[in-house]
Every structure is written in structure tokens, then in C-alpha cells.
Symmetry: C2
Subunit: 582 residues, 2 copies
Amino acid sequence: MPPYAAVLMTGRPDGACLVAANYFDTHRETLDGALAAIDSRGFWSAYPEVPSKRIYGEDARGEGMAAWKGRLGKTFGIDQPGVVGTVNAESSPYGIETNIDYPSVDLNQLLPAACVAMDSWKRASIDERTGVCLEILDRLNKRSFEMAFAVMHTTGQGFMMAFQAGGPHAQDRGLEAIAYAWRAMKACPESATWSKRVSKTETVTLQKTWRIVPRGVAVTVGCSTFPTWNGYPGIFASLVTGNAVIVKPHPGAVLPLAMTVEIAREVLAEAGFDANLMTLACDSFDEPVAQELVVRDDVAIVDFTGGNAFGDWIEANATQARVYSEKAGVNTVVLDGCDDVRAMTGNLAFSLCLYSGQMCTSPQNIFIPESGIDTPEGVLSFDDTCAALVQALDWFLSDPARANEVLGAIQSPATLDRQAAAKGAGGIVLRDGVAVPHERFDAARLSSPLIIQVDEGDTTLFEQEHFGPVVYIVKTASTSRSIEIAADGAKRLGGLTAALWTRSDDVIDAAVDAFTDAGVALSVNLTGQIWVNQSAAFSDFHVSGANPSGNATLCDAAFVSDRFRTVATRIPVPAPVEEAAC
Amino acid sequence: MPPYAAVLMTGRPDGACLVAANYFDTHRETLDGALAAIDSRGFWSAYPEVPSKRIYGEDARGEGMAAWKGRLGKTFGIDQPGVVGTVNAESSPYGIETNIDYPSVDLNQLLPAACVAMDSWKRASIDERTGVCLEILDRLNKRSFEMAFAVMHTTGQGFMMAFQAGGPHAQDRGLEAIAYAWRAMKACPESATWSKRVSKTETVTLQKTWRIVPRGVAVTVGCSTFPTWNGYPGIFASLVTGNAVIVKPHPGAVLPLAMTVEIAREVLAEAGFDANLMTLACDSFDEPVAQELVVRDDVAIVDFTGGNAFGDWIEANATQARVYSEKAGVNTVVLDGCDDVRAMTGNLAFSLCLYSGQMCTSPQNIFIPESGIDTPEGVLSFDDTCAALVQALDWFLSDPARANEVLGAIQSPATLDRQAAAKGAGGIVLRDGVAVPHERFDAARLSSPLIIQVDEGDTTLFEQEHFGPVVYIVKTASTSRSIEIAADGAKRLGGLTAALWTRSDDVIDAAVDAFTDAGVALSVNLTGQIWVNQSAAFSDFHVSGANPSGNATLCDAAFVSDRFRTVATRIPVPAPVEEAAC
């Protein structure tokens, strides 16, 4: 290897960054586990989802709660450029006073700082950047209880979901993105010897070296319901590939991402890099900053999770950037039959209640043939099937503690307005959506799911996303018609998940063809402790990118491989001995 | 595995397509070689670049020429939907009469046919689609002589370049794209068993299956200079991932891509698939069809090679599609010093003459410090360096046969107009660009390179692409200034290649940093049979995507992995024995 080859590879003759290299060694096993998992796609998790003392420590919950409480009523301190004031638009769906002031920023100061921060970061080795990102995730994992309370009291999730989806599951999704990005960057060697016989007497030999070049500044526009789970993949995929990341949280769910930025900046600084590789850009509902931010020339990547209106606007206007979007979709359920009515309705009722339909994977439209469904006891009529489902909901919500925990709170008052509007819009109300008291938080905003029965012709009612606790039961002419309407709707309106219950392999085959072509992940005959809403890191792709609900998939190669580029240098060197010999 | 798992994987209970499967087996070694090559990035080629009888057959050249001549003066026959007339805008830069009528199409018939064609193709297995694409490449390789004449008499390339770049090298680039796409599709298994312990007593086990889903109709907008070399990567990447491809050749260089479509349709039909997976959409300069085509709703992918104006328009308007572009750039040379002036000027002179600067990798601006360059014999003054370069060109062009073969012909009269305009625009003409007679074709359109000396302040002259035989020698204050101007220009205007000659490792380090950050592939101190214009499949990335010269890289994961999506189905199955046991 010529003397300057080592320099060419990293551009840093002064050698590797020891702290970052150590981080990589420390977390190498975690990375290897993730790399194996994305190949096998069997069950795997790096960060324990059980909030147990044994795993997280005897006092972890108490310390986490104390740390979270310690942030309330104060200004969120962050030492970054461009802080010009504070905003405070966050409130707990559980009705308690959080009152945290977050920094508002001047983009004209923040963006240049983000650009400068990439200078040393882009010269670090792939493993060094990966080590830093893995250390950030590890520290986030240790703070999972604090994060759980931050997520619970911004999104309205029940504690268990807030802990799991906001903590370990989000961390797993971040790790998954890092694993894909690491593999994508390693796909090209840092250097190679290219030797070609160009004539009987001459062999040309070139030393080729390749460097990873970041795209530029990445912006993550966070959502209000799963700020970390939806945010981490883009944040870590962009950071590990050499880009600087500006995090723009949803004004109503800031703390989880603000904590993330805080921890990331700590690790970056400790590793000797510019902490401005990760910065915070907060705004308010009255003075949003995202529209101005995402179209700036320096912004090369945008990750967006949220509604169609703004998502479509970003895709149409941020043409200077590579935009990864997760937008709305209408998720569907097709009931054709089942082996155990109670098991089916119990599983479905849980899916309908879970976080009050505020998951992008929550089912909204349930298609049931007018002729009823097939069961071992014979046909269960349409009306009896509806009644069985309502009964399952009644039973599920009859236990206040269970109802509180699973329903969670409604993140935004607008969601309750949507529910009220849906109630008045038409159809037969089979079960009303009513306020549900919370055992511990008097002012909490909870509601039971509103169940409305409509006919397949009432497309104006059910062929739109009613984000929140709104469920339509659609009476159809047949199961094949149910599949047709559901799949066609997903193609036109977007859709992330579909659930099917049936006793017929032919129906399964037809549904798989239809929903696969519509880009919808299909779950068949689920019972017990697994629900259609669930999307497991390392195994389930979240958002197919094959319908209008978004173009980004968590996680696949397409999600990471365009966040960096590879640039080569080639220099003649003496031919390898064996070549020279002949 | 549950009985329907096999069905779920491919959606084709009737089993695999035997012909396609056989193609895959036949060409498996070729694919394996390509997969190994994109990992090592050392020299490798699947298709021999030497037009020798021993390799291609005793009569290959004669048969190829006869086959090509047999097409002249006739209508190019193609049995595809939507053919409504003919267009004829092609002419040989060598001045001979070709006069081929090509089909003009009605997009309202062509697009639906392309959509329908994907129905069975998307259900084929990854290996089946790959086998078909490899068979197409194999047949194209066997037709390399016929292709060479088709490329020569549309692009104006000399015969040797037309054979190599139009044939084997283009086929290698296509194979490279197939290899990346095959790996990207195989990254997710077709099926997996996901088993998770959800409680002390319950384990949930799901059979998960994944299918590849194409994005939709892909359109390749061909260029006039390297229609196959620039076209094959996108064409084969889209086809192998399940999409239908509509090929829209440049009106002035139709035959090479028309032949490609013809051969692809033969193979697709023989394998039992819909030949309309690959169709031809020809147009004329007067009635272009590309603008209407690329914005159609059914078009999900666009591959474009050509000028900035139309490329920028497509990127701004074809927002319904994923656009991969290769646009213009200004390529640069920095002269700081060299160990052998004759070797350096000889190598550079060849690069300047090769295909008369009509390669997107051709150097245009040569930066030389006013203080001259460093040589073993001492400083060579600026004027003497210019003189040495001009002398090298004089010698090179002094042999008519050599000059004819290397210069090739000028593809478009507009290129000669640009040369004339550049001559009149300013600067000192060091060597005039003049008509060069061709030994065999009296009416051939040949020109020698125009060499103009300017100062670094004359940015309005040299900071734009003068596609064709126009070279600027820019006198700069210093080599560091040369690097600064060249790299900065690439960031703003785009640039694919840079060449540096120097005797200083410090200059190499500075140049590598500057050009890498500008997204430009740098070649250092080239002499002998290797030139900056050359981009080798399986080793050299063509277009970094890191500056305005384009967003597509031939080839990397980003170029292929977003041409398809992956959609899942999950169904409960009995827990694996070892799980059930515990």
C-alpha cells in the first residue's frame, strides 16, 4: 500500500479517534446481533422491553420519575448556537402541568453550525461514527424510565407502551437503521488494488480508495404520538452516515426528542466531535419553523412523520432534499370466519383499544359480509358478529385499570373533535365513544372507541383516515368484495396494515395477492398476545413505500443507502508481484 | 412450513418458470463473479472487450456488419402495442445514409400494456427474473459486433470504442446493476419464523413471508453518445426488480437501444413472460414525447442521461416518480508537476482527443500555475507546459488513422457550433479546432480539439460545460488556487472526474480532500494505457451523486434498492419444537 493510502481512506493522518473506537468495540456484539437479525428476520431485540428492576436496576423507575419531574416547570437547557428565545406549547394529555420552556432558534445561525460540524465527523471512520451512535443508544436505553414518563406525558400513551415504544422498541428501531447503514457503507471497501492486463507487455495497476461523503444537513420532523419510535431510524441513519441532524419535534411532543438530542450531544462531545452534529429546533403551533427549515439549500435530507397535508407539501417543495415520509393511511380488517369467535373478537378489541387508535398501524375499517362469517358452530350472522365485537369491547373496557392502561390518553383535543364529527356524519352507532375516567389523573383526556356501522356504499364516511378512536364496521356483499374494497382503498388512500380472519386458504391466497399488491402488511388469524398494530424491529418492515402512506420503510437498504455517497481516488502503483512476474 | 407458505412466497402455486430458472442456472457463474467483483472492486469483466475472432467467432465481424447493414433503409419492425406511425431523425456522424424508420407510439396504448405486463413478472421469483435478464445480456454480448456498428453510426464513436463501450462495457454495467439488485432483493429472506416468548407460559410464533413488489413503469430516457452504456444500468435494475421498462431513445441514437429492446422482448417471450415488459417509445426532434411520458401517473421510475436543462425539468416535474439522473458537469485537470513531461502530456492528450471530448468524463479545464510545474529537470514554465501539451496533441493527431479512430466523429452539428462559439468568445487560441478528414468516410464530421488559454478570472468562459472538443487551459496563481477553483466549480456546476499530476504528497492530500468533498472522482499521475475518462464497471462508481452533475451512481445500492418494495404477510404457526419444549 502506498504511503498515502492510509491517509486517503479517512483523510485523517492523525489516526483514529480512540474514544469512538472504544465505543465501537464496546458495542460490537450489539451491532453483530442486529446484523444477524436483519438477515434472519426472526425475533431479536437488543434492548429489554420489560421495565423490570432486575434488568434496569432496583431504583430505575423512581430515579427516572424523579429525573423527569426535575425537568417540569423549567427551561430545557441546551448549549447550541442560534438559541434566540423559548417556546412552550407542550401539555400532558393526562392533564398535569408540565410547563417546560424549549429553545426557539435562528436558522441562520443553526444551519451554518450544523454544516461546520460535519467537517471532522465525515472524516471519522465508519466504525468510529457507528461506535458513537451505539453509545448514544446505550445511554438512551439506561434512561428508558425517564424517557417513558416523558413519552407518556406528551403522547398520552399508557405507561407500559410509553416505556416500550418510547424506549427499548425505539432504540431497537434506531439500532436497526444503524445496522443497515453500517452494512451499506461497508459494502464498498475503503481501498482496493485494481490490476488490468492492457496489452501483451503492459499491466496497469491502480490503488483505489473510497471515502464516504455525507449528503448534508438532515432534518427530522417529529410526530406527536411516537416521537422517538418514528424519529430514531432517520436520526441515526443520517448521523451514522456522516450527516448533521437538526431535530424539529412536534410542538406538542418535544421532551422525548429534546432528551435524545441532549444525550447525543453529550456523547458526541465526549468522543471529541462537534456536538452541533445534533441540534434542536423547537417551534410552536402559532409560529411553526418546519416549512422554512426543510426547503433551505443546506438541507439535503428530510425525515417526516405526520399527516398527508404537510407531508405532501414537503415532498412537493423540499425538492433540494431527499425526503423520507410516513404519512396517513386507512388500515383495514377483513372478517370472513374464525375458529374461535371469542379469541378473534378479543384480539381485535385489544387492537381497537390500544392507544385509542392513535397508532399509524391501528385498524379503522372492519369489513364483514352481510351473510355473516364462518365459524365451527356454523355461520355467525352479520349482526351477531358486530354484537360479539361490541361485547368484547365492553368486557375489555369493564376493568378501569386495564382500560386506562391500554386506551392511554388522547394526545390532541382535535382527535376528540374528529370523533365527534364522525359520530354526526352518518352510519349507525353500535357503541358510542364516551369519556373514560382515569384512576390517577382526574383531568386526563380519555375516550372509548366509537363504533359505527355503515354500508359498503358509504365510502365518503370510511374512505378517509379518522385518526383516533373511530372504527367503522362496513357491511359488504361478500368477503371477496371486502378484500377488493380494502385493497383498492389502500392503493388510493394509503394503508400500512390489514388484518384478516378466515378459515379458508383460498381467501388467504386472494387476500395476500390483493394486499401485497396494495403495499399493505397483512396479518392473518391473530389470537393471543400478538396484534396487527405491532411492528417488530429487525423483522417487520414498517411502511412498505408501495402506496400513498409514505415512501420510507423502517428499515431497509433504500432507507439508508441514499443518505451518503462514495467518492473515489485512484493512483498508479507497482503491479502486484504475481502480475509483474508473468 | 404451513402448506400455503410456498404459495405466499411467489404467489404462484403453479410453480416456477422452468425456462427462466434454467437461464439462471446457466448464468449463475456470471452472477457470482459479478457479486464477488462488487465486493472486492478489483478488476473484473464478464464480457470480453477485445473484438477478436478467437472470442467472438471467425465471422463475427462480418456477420455483425451484414446484420447492421440489413437494417439500413428499412422500417425497424417491432410487435408491440401503441405503434401509430414512424419517425426517422437518426443520421450517421460519418455521413453515410442509414435511413431507418422507427415506431412512434400512442402512450395511451403503451402505458396500460406495460402495466399489465407486470402481473406475471412480479410474481416470478427473484432468480427467475434475474435469469431472464442475464440471458438478455448474454444475447446482447453475442451481438456485440452488430451493436458496435449501430453505436458507431449513431454516436460517432470510433469502431473500437463503439465495440467496447457500446457492447461488453455496457453489458458489464448492466450486469453490475443486476448484481446489486439481486443482492438487494435477497437481503430479505422470502420467509422466516418469528418466535417470541410473551409471557412465562405463552410463546407467539409467526410464519412471515415477504414478496418483492415493483414500483411501476420505469422509463429510460436515452442519450445520444453512450445510449447502451448509460442506459443498461437503469434498464436492467428496473426490469430485474419487477418493473416494466419503456425505453425512450435519443432521436439521434435510436438503433442501439431499439436492438436492445428487440432482443429483450425475444427472451421475455421465450421465457413465457409478457414481451411488453420492455417496449420502445421513439420520437423526433420536432415532436418529442419524453416530457409527456415521464410525468404520467403510471410512471414510477425515470432514468435520465443528458443535459442539465431537461434533467432539471424532469427532476422538478416528474415528482410522481423516483428520478435517477446523470446530467452535465465540468471536468478538470490540475497540473502541479510530473516525473515525465512526455508521459504526462501524452496521457492527457489522449484523454482530450478521445471521442472528441464527447464523454461525460472528458476533461475540459486544465489548471496550470503561472509559475509553471515541477519536473525532475526543474521548473517547466507555464508557456512551455502549454507548448508541451500542444506538441503532444500535434504528434497524436499527426497519424491520420490514429486520429480518426480516437477522435471519432462529432455526434451533433450543435457540438461544432459550440466549438465555434467558444473560439469566438475569448481567450488565446493555442491550437485551433479544425475539420479533420476521415480516411474512409468523406462526409464524416470530425474536428480536432480547440485549445484556448484563459486566466483564472475568466470564469464566464470556462465555468460552463462546452460539451465536445473544447479545452481551456486556465492560468492560476498557484496549484492550491487551481484545486480551489476546480473543486468549487464542481460543487456549483457539477463534475464527474478530475485529474491531477503532481510530485508532492501534500498536494495529493489537499486535492483528495477538496475533490472528494466536491463529489468528484480523482485520478492521480496517470500514465500509459489508463485515462481519466475511463470508468470501469464493478470498480469505478460513475457519478458520485454528491454534486449537481446527477443523483445516480453506476452502480451502488442506492441506485437499485428503491426500485422495488418488500411487503409482508404473517400467520401464526405452532411454536418450533425447541421453543415448545421449554
